[in-house]
């Protein structure tokens, strides 16, 4: 509860709620976030942190403080979309042969498809095929869906209302990205117009414009959070 929510009381009168649900001190909140994040293998959202911490706690600022404290340590407090997780520092990966997970080797087609989805999201299968210049096999998309690196976005407002694909928080977590906006080289690609959906000459331009807007919106959404 924020201070604004408390009723204005005459001086000397403590509101009962305050004494019942007093927020723990900041250092204590940091310890709590630390304990919860350490306990979980999956990223934990600020909302869930707040839900699990005592009333009045401010998980968002506790996480920030904690992240600072762990700078340069063997484990890092990392942001994954709307959530936070603890991951070992990348430079220590060599110590972890034992923990290394053998991931299925992705085909070149799967890797390219994944990159196209990440950089062009939300993107339809037809758009992926246009970019790659070759049809996308069902297996490729299914594999990425199964790995939970991509998921269905909302349908496109074009004839046939095709489904779109977007990347998941799991994708961000896997590649150590705070948000889709942190994709390597995204800014340069956007600046050079290579992420624009440029329809072939002669085709109607209306589709493309709408798409770009939607895309803008998606990355914007990421930005705001």
């Amino acid at each position: 509860m924020s201070d604004e929510d408390l009723p204005n009381l005459p001086e000397g009168l403590e509101p009962i709620t305050e004494s019942l649900f007093e927020a723990p001190p900041e250092a204590e909140q940091e310890r709590m976030v630390e304990a919860i994040l350490f306990a979980s293998a999956d990223p934990v959202s600020i909302g869930e942190l707040n839900a699990r911490m005592p009333h009045g706690a401010d998980a968002a600022s506790a996480v920030q403080a904690l992240a600072k404290r762990y700078e340069g340590r063997g484990v890092q407090i990392t942001r994954v979309g709307e959530a936070w997780a603890i991951r070992t520092a990348a430079d220590l990966g060599f110590l972890m042969q034992k923990e290394t997970v053998e991931t299925r080797k992705l085909s070149r087609a799967a890797i390219e498809t994944l990159a196209i989805i990440a950089y062009h999201q939300p993107v339809t299968r037809a758009e992926i095929e246009e970019i790659r210049g070759v049809s996308v096999s069902r297996g490729t998309v299914d594999q990425l869906l199964e790995m939970e690196w991509i998921k269905f976005g909302r349908r496109k407002m074009t004839p046939g209302r095709p489904v779109t694909y977007i990347v998941t928080p799991g994708f961000l977590d896997h590649f150590g990205l705070e948000s889709a906006r942190d994709l390597p080289g995204l800014k340069e690609l956007r600046a050079s117009g290579l992420l624009d959906n440029r329809p072939p000459p002669g085709a109607s331009a209306s589709d493309g414009a709408g798409e770009t807007e939607e895309q803008e919106e998606l990355f914007q959404e990421e930005d705001e959070t």
């Binding site: 979980s40 991931t103 210049g133 070759v134 080289g185």
Partner: protein, 274 residues
């Protein structure tokens, strides 16, 4: 991007072979084998075009689409000559590039409303550049510190217990109904028709069927009321109504006849001699 580089090298040789033209049969056959392998290695015609464009060793934006089209068409011709089955995609691209080539070479037809050769060429260049950019982006992505390879999750996650807490609730209505239930429990029962002082038509019909045989002469209907139902007003009302209704039913069936001499006069019945 080691793979792509390898493909590049192979293509260089193969293009070279084509340009040399008259080489020995052996080298031709070797080139043919290289082609088969390479066609398998390409991810579609755009990929092949991208690879071919690399041989121009210039910025993708400055690639000569005309030269690229020639290279591609030469490649396809060579493949045909060597009886390599090319996927339809490749042939469609070949046809389109042949069209583009003619557009680029011939002076523009002022009556043609379609996109100009330059526009088409520019779009192809854009597609190639975009594909190339996506490949680089994919490589950068895969080069990041990956989870399970470079970065690791907690090895002993502590699953947290779910404690189920039951919260009981009740509404004011529950409370009031509960109280009323207790305070009136002696009399309380669900609201149903009071069967005690109701004599149904079925009961009356059954009773009259038994008695009707004896009614050879006109008899007052009221004498058919069951015993014990004549005095209590509620019971008498119910029994009268059902007995009258039953008599109508019997009359309808042709078992009895009814008569009433005057308004409010006694109703009389008798059996029909059958």
């Amino acid at each position: 991007m080691a793979d792509a580089d390898g493909a590049d090298g192979a293509t260089d040789e193969q293009i070279g072979g084509q340009i040399d033209g008259q080489s020995t049969e052996v080298s031709e056959r070797l080139a043919a084998e290289a082609l088969i392998i390479d066609v398998d290695g390409y991810e579609g015609p755009l990929d092949l075009l991208l690879t071919l464009s690399r041989t121009q060793k210039v910025d993708l934006r400055k690639v000569s689409i005309l030269q690229l089209a020639r290279q591609y068409l030469a490649f396809v011709d060579k493949a045909k000559e060597l009886r390599i089955e090319l996927a339809a995609d490749y042939l469609v691209m070949a046809a389109w590039l042949a069209f583009l080539k003619s557009r680029l070479l011939l002076p523009p037809d002022p009556t043609d409303e379609g996109p100009s050769g330059e526009e088409l060429a520019a779009h192809l260049a854009f597609q190639l550049e975009r594909l190339s950019a996506m490949r680089e982006a994919a490589a950068k992505l895969m080069g990041r510190d990956q989870l399970g390879r470079d970065r690791f999750v907690r090895g002993i996650p502590e699953s947290y217990d779910r404690v189920r807490k039951i919260k009981f609730t009740a509404t004011l209505m529950d409370l009031m109904q509960g109280y009323a239930r207790i305070r009136t429990k002696d009399e309380f029962r669900p609201f149903v028709m009071d069967r005690e002082s109701v004599f149904t038509m079925e009961q009356a019909l059954e009773r009259m069927r038994e008695l009707i045989g004896y009614a050879g002469t006109w008899t007052n209907l009221m004498t058919y009321l069951p015993e014990g139902w004549e005095t209590d007003p509620a019971k008498r009302r119910s029994a009268t109504a059902s007995t009258f209704a039953a008599s109508l039913e019997l009359a309808k069936g042709g078992h009895i006849e009814l008569r009433q001499s005057d308004m409010f006069a006694p109703i009389q019945i008798r059996t029909l001699a059958t």
